[in-house]
């Protein structure tokens, strides 16, 4: 087969592009565009976590905090600073990166469960600020977000699309850019250094990898990814509440990362797709929703430890030709 001669990077990008283009052909209503957009938005955040968890082998139980920063930047900056909501995405990304850089160094000295609880605490602090400073953020009830004006712009150019369709394509393009950067990073010297940390920090250090700096850069990069996804979420929904920054959302993002396969970009998108669409499917089951979700999390992690994509790939490869 010629396909196997293509590098994994090209293969992943091709597969993702195909997925993005083919999926709408099966959408019976515009509601599905919304789900698709949500999948790509979560997918972007999860690709960021792949860099931190899959490449560098660190853990974070507080990344939803950065979703919150990205989201509330898009909600607050247009109102108080008068800049356009689209520019606010960059402001949010900058703030998230800066904050990650400031807290990253002391936090990333910790390992394993200590790192887990430190990131957990960090995320909870952001959540508490967002839900308690009601005069700014509207408190737990959340707040409205200004329109981007993108739809009006498209309309004036003669394109008539629904908001869901527009966000489907925007989220898809942004995620593809994110995937491209992450895949390039994988094989770059920085990416190799990060992956060496995953195996053994001591070994990486002895061959001259600056362990603290590389961990910090993975943390900052993943924070920026997550922040951009939060901004997209706020702009698409035109509404935001502190729940996006909560502990459960952090857990959700981490689960998506590990479920699909923590070390691969493609796995990240699959993980995001499954856990984003699952609740929509499970609403049919009403009271059994939590039971099924919990069961799936446990079963996949017990029987497919490396995540769905790597495990299935292994099974396929083992099959006699």
């Amino acid at each position: 087969m010629k396909l196997t001669k293509l590098s994994p990077k090209i293969l992943t990008l091709l597969a993702l592009a195909l997925l993005v283009i083919i999926a709408p052909m099966f959408f019976p209503s515009s509601f599905y565009y919304r789900i698709g957009a949500l999948i790509f938005i979560n997918g972007l955040a999860v690709i960021g976590l792949v860099i931190l968890v899959g490449y560098a082998g660190q853990i974070s139980l507080g990344h939803a905090g950065f979703v919150g920063i990205g989201a509330y930047s898009c909600a607050l900056a247009p109102e108080h600073l008068g800049i356009s909501p689209v520019l606010a995405v960059f402001l949010g990304a900058f703030l998230s990166g800066l904050l990650a850089w400031l807290v990253g160094r002391p936090i990333l000295r910790l390992r394993g469960h200590y790192l887990a609880v430190a990131t957990l605490g960090f995320g909870i602090l952001i959540y508490m600020v967002l839900s308690n400073e009601a005069q700014w953020t509207g408190g737990p009830d959340g707040m409205a977000v200004q329109a981007t004006g993108l739809k009006a712009l498209l309309k004036s150019m003669g394109f008539k699309v629904s908001a869901s369709e527009m966000w489907y394509w925007i989220a898809a393009v942004v995620m593809m850019i994110g995937a491209l950067i992450a895949l390039n990073l994988h094989t770059s010297p920085t990416g190799r250094a990060l992956r060496s940390l995953h195996d053994s920090e001591v070994a990486a250090g002895t061959v001259g990898v600056n362990v603290a700096n590389y961990k910090l850069s993975a943390f900052v990069i993943s924070a920026i990814y997550t922040s951009v996804s939060g901004s997209e979420l706020a702009l698409m929904n035109r509404f935001i509440s502190p729940d996006v920054a909560g502990f459960l959302h952090s857990v959700e993002l981490l689960t998506m990362t590990v479920l699909g396969g923590a070390a691969t970009v493609f796995g990240a998108v699959i993980g995001a797709a499954i856990l984003t669409s699952l609740p929509q499917v499970l609403t049919v089951l009403h009271d059994f929703e939590h039971i099924v979700l919990g069961l799936i999390m446990m079963l996949v992690m017990i029987f497919m430890r490396e995540g769905l994509v790597p495990s299935l790939a292994k099974i396929l490869r083992r099959r006699p030709k």
């Binding site: 968890v53 853990i59 139980l61 002391p106 936090i107 000295r109 910790l110 394993g112 469960h113 200590y114 887990a116 609880v117 430190a118 957990l120 605490g121 960090f122 909870i124 602090l125 508490m128 600020v129 308690n132 053994s200 001591v202 070994a203 502990f247 459960l248 857990v251 981490l254 689960t255 590990v258 479920l259 923590a262 009271d287 059994f288 929703e289 939590h290 039971i291 099924v292 979700l293 919990g294 069961l295 799936i296 999390m297 446990m298 992690m301 017990i302 029987f303 430890r305």
Partner: protein, 290 residues
Amino acid sequence: MSELLQFFFSGITVGAIYSLVALGFIIIYNSSGVVNFAQGEFVMLGGMSTVFLFNAGVPLAIAAVAAILITCLVGIALNKLAIEPAKGASVVTLIIITIGASIFIRGMAQLVFDKQFHRFPSFSGDDPFLIGGATILPQGVWMIAGAIAVFIGLFVFFTYSLTGKAVLATSNNKLAARLVGISTNMMMTLSFGLSAAIGALAGVLVTPITLTSYDVGIALALKGFAAAILGGMGSPFGALVGGILVGLIEAMTAGYISSEYKDAASFIVILAVLFVMPNGIFGRSTIDRV
């Protein structure tokens, strides 16, 4: 002054529960290296089972003991069905398995019990004791006494009994423990059962004051985890002190600074402590084998 004393009392009362949850965390952590995020669900199961048995006409004391036994079985089932099959998995994988388990147990509780808040009467009435101008509820005394009793019990168990030493040996070096004839699987089952029972006891003690419902577990698990880390994951004394500290920090912040940020205060202190002492207050520094 009486104000300070009042905050102190409410701090150690709540702290006692955090201590119990933290003790539950470290028993499982010590024997298996797993941080069990379903620990809060044990507390919920203890409270909810007692409520439903009590409402069905079972005397409170018997209902409480039955609830602890039920939760104990759930803990053992968790180990047998979810943790043992995942032997050798990474920290992140195990965290996600236990989070999955906690979501599952919450879903089951919602189905078997209901979504309402419940309570049952306090053990010794609701007339508060007056000490130095501050008050403490009799149930609060029960909670503090419970935490101390469990701590002493664990201390004696781990220091003097052969089984306790076997659990410690399992945590220290599984292979070596097996070589001297310890059934490490048995020890893990034992510690999951024990940890679940302690969690359930916390649930029984706290329900008359804070009420219980199917989703109370997660907040308690986060606080208990934070307390265990603060004390230095693995040390029972650290868990006791860590829990009381988290309770006191919360009560003082709520009293003197802002009740909205009381949950934030404990995490700020934990971050500060970890920056200075990356292994917690009573934790041993870890040495890596290269």
